[in-house]
Amino acid sequence: MPLVPYTGPFGRAQLLHLLRRSLFGATPADLAHFDGLSLDAVIDELLTFTNDTAPPVKSYAVGGDPNALDPSVPFGTTWVDTPRDPPDDTDVIQARLVSWAAWWMRQLTGQQRNLREKLTLFWHDHMPTQLGVVFHSEASYRMQQLLRTQCGGNFRQLIHDVTVEPAMLIYLNGRYNVSFAPDENYGRELFELFTCGHGSGYTEGDVQAAARVLTGWGIQEDIDGTPILPQTIFRPLFHTATDKQFSAFFNNTVITGQSGADAGEVELNALLDMIMAQEACSLSICRALYRFFVHGDIAPEVETDVIQPLAELFRQEQSAPDQIRTVLRALLTSTHFFSDDVIGCMVKSPADLVIGDIRMFGFPLPDTALNEADLQVHLEFYWLVSYAGQTLAEPPNVAGWPAYYLHPAYDRLWLDTATFPARNNALLGLIYSTIETPSDTVLPASADLSFRTDLVAFTQELQNPSNPNALIDQLVELMYVHPISPAVKQQLKQAYLLFGQTNDIYWSDAYELYVADPNTTSMTAQLVPDILRWLVGDMQKAAERHLY
């Protein structure tokens, strides 16, 4: 029985819900863009994307000298195609990793109106590699581009490519998994985390057999001593050529041992065929998607009414190049997704919380041509998300972030007495704080710049902001899923927009005066930017802010 599609009204509330879960935050411009479109039209657009990113560029320098670090890469050009020479210069690795992390943030803050970045983050959580463990800038960049390119595609293809990708071979020791000393690390996580799921029925013997299937893969990083970009290689001499017997869970499959140059590839494909033939894999992936996009805990009726039909669809589409898109479409257009069991019930991840606000309030982003400014600003954003409780590229371990798997709290794990103040501070910081670039930049245009949220500009994207009631209503609609009573709105309006008075005209006059001329000599009108900062700053403190 397929997933029940949503046929109810698709208005602003539903649109906001869909956008908040699909994008990072929903901006007034996003709402205007999708205004009046049907659910199908919106989901079509959200699922239309390719990986059209331009790679990160070298924007790091030392004391204004662009050649002090990583001299073989000209300033302002990309480093991703240039092997590091010497390869173990940690300053260069560090600089490139920082460049990559900031670049990733830019893809998030500057995201297009589609699911690409959310899905990339999903796969990063589902099949993680950790930046600090891998410690290889080109490999980390490549791995993420692999995820970004294939994030909506075919799962089997994705897991195949990830298995032999250099970053994963480093992270889970695949490159050290050899016939005379098999290393089970990847084999175990492949079953436990990436495909079938813990407790689905595979045995220790299966893990060991999988490890033997995967022996022989390696990474080449130099040719006769000259560094090259990491290449995946297969070494037949290090591969176990015997047959691999699997348990009854896998229908007692035997993967015939191969030798020769294509042994690794042939056996890997046999292994993946064997895994995909199990329902467990489809159920596990669908549950993972559900926990990321919809809700943490899966109630028994959700398991039967949502997960099982979704998994059936997943299996039906298992050869389709757009399998994940198809599955996600069914999930995000289901009745369940738009039900009261879902809307407003999830704690925002730190990424959603922080990046959502950066986008929604329109925190100014430097022109990418000012690459050092771009790096500075996005590095601050990266640390802000980390401060709020989620260090991108550094999940706590190979299982990803606990909010996506740890029963019974799931997404509530993002919120505790340590993270709540940090998240609160982060939200306030995005309203109050200024990010500045240093003076000693390579490009003078990047020096001594200031970036700060302009709330007056933000209000001008709204309807009739000089009417204090309309302004409060729209802020409430954008900032919260939960309804806010007229009494609370009145309190906010009076305390902030009316400065303690009771007449709406006080706000309208001041606001219109300021907007007409920001250099107005009216001291009252000059208060307008501060008033908005105080109002929004207070609204940031609501517990409602942390849910979506």
């Binding site: 982060a426 306030l428 303690g500 001291m523 501060d530 409602e544």
Partner: protein
């Protein structure tokens, strides 16, 4: 590095209550000195611009007044004359409560308070009064915000702490506005009072949760928020129902019940032992452009109710403080963003004006009137306004110098300029310098422990200011497991190795004491 500076600037943007979590080690209990002698200022803000001429009525100019504002003026015989002023000045007939305070020497009236080049905008003038700015400048800090910053320069880093475990200031019933802010940092906590009790959500978002999935999620988030707010804990702990003894507070639908509610909480919290220095409460509705009085019965109406509410609440509050035996620690002050026009309008109201009187109340005020009755010219037009007699910053300066006992240079620093302080409060009772010094150091980190966590031993580093130093280590049960130092040490930095290799893994506390200064740092032994 850039990261740290941004995160520090974030902490500065945080609001009171989300400071770094301290450790609730019960052994710190007896070390906390909660017998606070600290003084408290209660600010009562009147929103809208109070009509001073109908509040403190210059009976000696009655003739001139009646020729320009007869439709709102209080009948001469109904004004409550203030004794000792030769019958020249009286209060609005609603203000019998404050007249009692005058009679018992607990009220001071400062006439003609304003500032040069007055601004007639509510927003701007309120902003000026709260920040202490000149009329042509915008400031990003409040006068009390700057005072609290001067008193507790480390705030919010390292707060709450043993010296100051409580909010520095509390705003009741509204958010913390610019008056209590310092460069983006809210120097006070905000609480919303209900008839039934304190609402410690700390913000305006107090709608009840719905009985569904999103309601349950919101409930969870609010619980975490409340648990994270340590100031919520201390406020809740201090709010003692037994700490309201006066029966005079207006209640229910009586005028002033809302202000009375707020002042009751203030009394409770002071009685309950909070060291909070400033409480800020307010009343709105003073913008009486129309129907200021009931036509034909000028002793009745909107303004009369407001003044009655103010007077009754303040009188009850003072009564309460006296019954609780804490009245010598509290000074109250009213203010409004401006007064109102001398000449009334045709809507039986008055429009925005300039200078006006304000009140100070408490057992330590210098009772009486400061300044003179305003001079009402014979030829008042609609545009005529009262000239200022006193700059409001002189009122602030008097409070800072004689109530909070700041040095003149410190007063100037808070007010950003030199203003002649008015003698408003008996200066004899300034607090001891040792408390002031302690406040200055509050939040300073006296000792460092590294590595932390550690496996077998760790190093303690501290700065000695000379004299006897005690350095001990306690386990989680409060037992002393190490006596590292107990001797006189020369001034300067010292390091001591703390070897706990024979101790089980777990939490320990390293305590440093030097004279009156002491600090405790937690440390964790692992494996």
């Amino acid at each position: 590095m850039r990261r740290r500076s941004f995160i520090r600037s974030l902490s500065a943007a945080s609001v009171g209550g989300f400071a770094v979590r301290g450790f609730g080690n019960p052994m710190l209990g007896p070390l906390l000195d909660r017998a606070a002698e600290d003084r408290v200022l209660v600010i009562v803000q009147l929103y809208g611009g109070n009509d001073g001429l109908n509040t403190v009525i210059p009976l000696d100019q009655y003739g001139n007044l009646s020729s320009v504002r007869s439709n709102v003026l209080i009948p001469e015989g109904q004004v409550l004359p203030l004794q000792g002023l030769g019958g020249a000045t009286g209060l609005h007939p609603s203000m019998s409560g404050m007249r009692s305070l005058w009679d018992s020497g607990k009220l001071s009236i400062v006439q003609g308070v304003g500032y040069p080049d007055p601004d007639f905008s509510h927003f701007r003038s309120t902003d000026i009064w709260e920040t202490g700015a000149n009329s042509d400048e915008l400031l990003d800090s409040g006068w009390t915000g700057r005072y609290l910053h001067q008193e507790y320069p480390n705030y919010p880093l390292g707060f709450p702490n043993e010296t100051m475990p409580d909010p520095l200031a509390i705003r009741i019933g509204a958010p913390v506005t610019i008056g209590l802010q310092h460069l983006g940092v809210a120097m006070g906590a905000s609480i919303y009072n209900t008839q039934d009790g304190l609402d410690l959500t700390g913000n305006a978002f107090t709608d009840p949760v719905t009985m569904d999935c999103k309601g349950s999620a919101l409930d969870f988030a609010r619980q975490v928020q409340r648990q994270a707010d340590l100031y919520g804990d201390v406020i809740e702990g201090a709010a003692q129902p037994g700490c309201n003894l006066s029966s005079l507070y207006p209640i229910g639908s009586q005028p002033g019940a809302e202000l009375a509610n707020a002042l009751k909480i203030v009394a409770q919290l002071i009685c309950g032992g909070l060291k909070t220095k400033i409480y800020w409460v307010s009343m709105d509705g003073f913008d009486t452009h129309a129907q200021q009085v009931v036509g034909g019965s000028p002793t009745l109406g909107a303004h009369a109710d407001l003044l009655q509410g103010l007077s009754d609440s303040v009188h009850a509050f003072q009564d309460d403080l006296q019954l609780l035996g804490i009245d010598d620690r509290v000074l109250g002050m009213t203010f409004s963003e401006f007064g109102r026009r001398i000449k009334s309008n045709a809507s039986v109201g008055t429009d925005h004006g300039t200078a006006a009187p304000l009140f100070l109340f408490g057992s330590q005020v210098i009772p009486g009137m400061v300044g003179n009755n305003p001079d009402i010219p014979a030829d008042v037009t609609y545009e005529t306004n009262l000239p200022m007699q006193h700059d409001f910053r002189s009122v602030y300066a008097g409070v800072l110098r004689d109530w909070f006992c700041l040095e003149p240079t410190e007063v100037d620093e808070v007010l950003l300029d030199t203003y002649v302080p008015l003698a408003l409060v008996d200066p004899a009772g300034c607090m001891g310098t040792s408390v002031h010094d302690l406040n200055q150091e509050a939040g300073n980190s006296l000792l460092e422990v590294f590595p932390n966590p550690f496996v077998e031993n760790t190093t303690v580093r501290f700065d000695s200011s000379g004299g006897r130093v005690v350095l001990q280590v306690f386990d989680a049960a409060g037992q002393v497991v190490r006596k590292l130092v107990n001797q006189e040490l020369p001034v300067g930095q010292h390091t001591v190795v703390c070897d706990l290799s024979d101790q089980p893994a777990g939490s320990y506390f390293c305590r440093l004491q030097m004279g009156t200064k002491q600090q405790v740092k937690s440390m964790v032994k692992v494996r």
